[in-house]
Amino acid sequence: MPILWKQILKGMRYFETLFLCLEETTKTNEKVSALIDYLSSVPDEDKMWMIGIFSGRRPKRTVSTKNLRRWAAEKADIPLWLFEDSYHIVGDLSETIALLLPPTAIEVQKSLNEWIQLILSLDKMEEDEQREMVFYAWDSLNTSSRFIFNKLITGGFRVGVSQKLMAKALAEFTHIDPSDIALKLMGEWSPLTYSFQSLIENEENEGSHSRPYPFHLAYSINEVTDLKGEPADWVAEYKWDGIRGQAIFRHGQYFLWSRGEELITDKFPEFEHLISVIPPGTVLDGEILPFKDGLILPFQHIQTRVTRKKITPAILKVNPVVFRVYDLLEWEGKDIRSKPFIERRTLLDQLFTSIDSSLPLQLSPVLPFDEFDELKILREASSENGSEGLMLKNKHSTYSAGRKKGEWWKWKIDPFTVDAILIYAQSGHGRRANLYTDFTFAVYSPEGDLLPFTKAYSGLTDKEFIEINKWIKKNTLERFGPVRKVTAELVFEIAFEGIQESKRHKSGIALRFPRMVRWRKDKVVAEANTLEDLQLLLKKSR
């Protein structure tokens, strides 16, 4: 889209225009051309910040959001409660602040880099000085630039620029191959440590030996009949419910990356010994799984491993893990991602012939089958093996960056469902700001008490939400701020991926990924599931 910057833009307005364009369009081509327009218009520092921001490398947070909220309310001359209520409805802190502030005093033009440097300089300031600085920025910017500035401070840009898209735009701009660009964008770098030249334009840079490859991802299928080709073209594996990881062994060093491109080497010290077993010049793709006494444990056990700052020997003992490997991306120092999957897998199998089974390194087994129909049986049985379904991989597929239709499929087992009773409703955020869409559901205990056990937000149509909203208004028993307690009358079918014990919830139960599937107008509360039903599910899932 040859956009507004045909006119003369100044300072951060380029970035603001880019951001608005990216948000206004869903078309890849338009996004790419907006990125290229931006890259052609701004100095190198602003290019780097743009790439950094859209790949999650935001500037360090220097001001607490609590202070920002206070200062914004002060500047807007409204009480804090009104600020908070507005925030709840708008759903985005940066946007709320930008909209609430009084009109711009004198507009000042600074580049993206200059504003970010100002934000970084807040770090060493006293609170009063910080406040003055933030007020200065707010006074100098118009509403949409303020929004960008606030986003830079709070770091919450969530706009759809995938790695693939960014690589595509940069490749067109620099005439470098997109897969080279994608590789350069991976791993640990920040706009403060790298220049555009050193990161993108130079052949090699010093961080390159720790750099992971972009992860290949799978699409979901619902039916095995969706698979193309012959059964012999496909490999079936279990789909593991852990943390996707890439283990890099290069130059006598070892690095472990998560799919979110976080370096998680320190969180899993037990893998460090693998340096002596795996030859340098090897990169493995697999899943980190909580694993004890020959069994895969529920996902919650691995959560402690990633959330704790320090991994103590006690944690290692209580929550041991294994790395279950399913792909080989680099072998003998060579990038082999362009080899067909089956060749990579054969090399991987050979590597594992020399791995001691006492090590926390395992090979994800290939599941033999002759007919597609057999996959159905394998899938049904997958939960007994601690997995959440099947992975189906095309034998001829290369390991490309991101998702590609027809290469890797995930075929998950059907979610659990329960029928539960709506008891609280809260108005939604953002696009559902003036509808009650955040619901709390309960089941009856054997004593006849209604026990809340889960919240759910999504899964109904806008039309259904409007109908339920009318009902909520007529059936409100009590109001607590934005929350309404309603008559226990409506029954909803809730789907979820997993069920765990929880000491934090009164019901003793916590669900993974709960969502509403249907409004069960055909059911009355007496027909809903009960706490006993949930406890039975919990027992079965262990």
Partner: protein
């Protein structure tokens, strides 16, 4: 509800027992007084209606053969000793605030209103009263409207860009109110204005009542793409994502509504572009209007009732939220 029970809040809507009259009733009643013709205010089935002369033709067009009387702005009508009068609300053509007085007590029901003058609807006039029943559609301090001139300039820029890219610009706005405001506000430079048939129908009702409106051309199959590209199309929100649009691709969708102030709402509406132009008062407008009535008692309806009430209470007014059946219905 009000001090001496002049108006009460019932399941059918606001009711004046002394005069046996309902204001914008939700269901059929004997006597209905209407603030304006939008569907959530003017409902079918009552035995008799009263509205302003400028609002009447569209209400008749929409509700069919009804028993409708009109009362010009500022004139009084006595019903069993209770005085009723209409005062401009500035929301759409013919929209009124309804003033109800009896034995020295004055209650004003705002209907929907905006304080800014759009140059087409009769401009809002504050009315002194003891009790003010105000709408609060945009009753949050995040809503702050720009001057409409600024918005029309923004539209002009947008059309130009789209035209350069060979994309047809379509603006979405309600056929009653927003469509006329867009039509009258667009600068001449945008070229011919094409309309969807439901909008054209309302425009023709207004033309027949003697309202001066710009020329429009209903979209029809004889128009070439080049002709359409030389202008813009105005269509009601309901046709967005409908088959009607398929033949116009490539197009750009511009949604014209106060809700477009929030990014979340823009995404929800699938708008390529949101133009923030509302026929309701913004936060400042609501506060200004409430303060100009001099009312001690304020009832807040239609919108962010709880928040605006709490804010007014903080400011020392006697304010209460008032629920309506139609909250949450209002998307535009």
């Amino acid at each position: 509800m009000t001090n001496k029970g002049l108006l009460v809040h019932t399941a059918l809507g606001l009711y004046c027992p002394k005069a046996d009259v309902y204001l914008d009733p939700w269901k059929p009643v004997k006597k209905a007084i209407l603030s304006h013709g939008h569907a959530d205010h003017a409902r079918w089935g009552s035995s008799s209606y009263l509205c302003t002369p400028t609002a009447a033709p569209v209400i008749k067009y929409r509700l069919g053969e009804i028993n409708l009387e009109t009362l010009p702005f500022g004139e009084e009508k006595l019903i069993n000793g209770v005085s009723f009068s209409f005062h401009p609300a500035g929301h759409i053509l013919g929209s009124a605030q309804i003033k109800v007085s009896y034995k020295g007590e004055i209650v004003v029901f705002s209907g929907d209103y905006k304080t800014a003058n759009d140059g087409f609807s009769e401009a809002f006039e504050p009315v002194k009263c003891h009790t003010f029943i105000t709408e609060s559609t945009f009753g949050l301090p995040v809503y702050h409207w720009q001057d409409q001139k600024w918005v029309f300039n923004e539209m002009e820029e947008w059309f130009k860009n789209n035209r350069n890219n060979g994309q047809l610009s379509i603006l979405y706005g309600y056929s009653l109110g927003k469509a006329q405001r867009i039509l009258q506000g667009l600068p001449e430079s945008v070229g011919p204005i094409f309309t969807h048939s439901t909008i054209e129908a309302v425009l023709n009702v207004m033309r027949n009542q003697g309202v001066s409106l710009k020329n429009t051309m209903p979209v029809n199959e004889h128009l070439t793409r080049a002709e359409l590209l030389s202008g813009v199309i105005i269509a009601p929100p309901a046709v967005q994502n409908s088959n009607w649009l398929k033949k116009f691709e490539p197009i750009r969708n511009g949604v014209v509504s106060g809700w477009m102030a929030l990014r979340g709402a823009r995404r929800r509406r699938n708008a390529d572009k949101g133009f923030v132009l509302s026929d309701h008062a913004d936060w400042e407008g609501l506060n200004e209007a409430i303060s100009l009535t001099g009312a001690e008692n304020v009832f807040v309806t239609h919108g962010y009732t709880d928040i605006l009430s709490k804010w007014l209470i903080d400011k020392g007014l006697n304010a209460h939220p008032l629920e309506t059946n139609f909250e949450g219905d209002e998307v535009l």
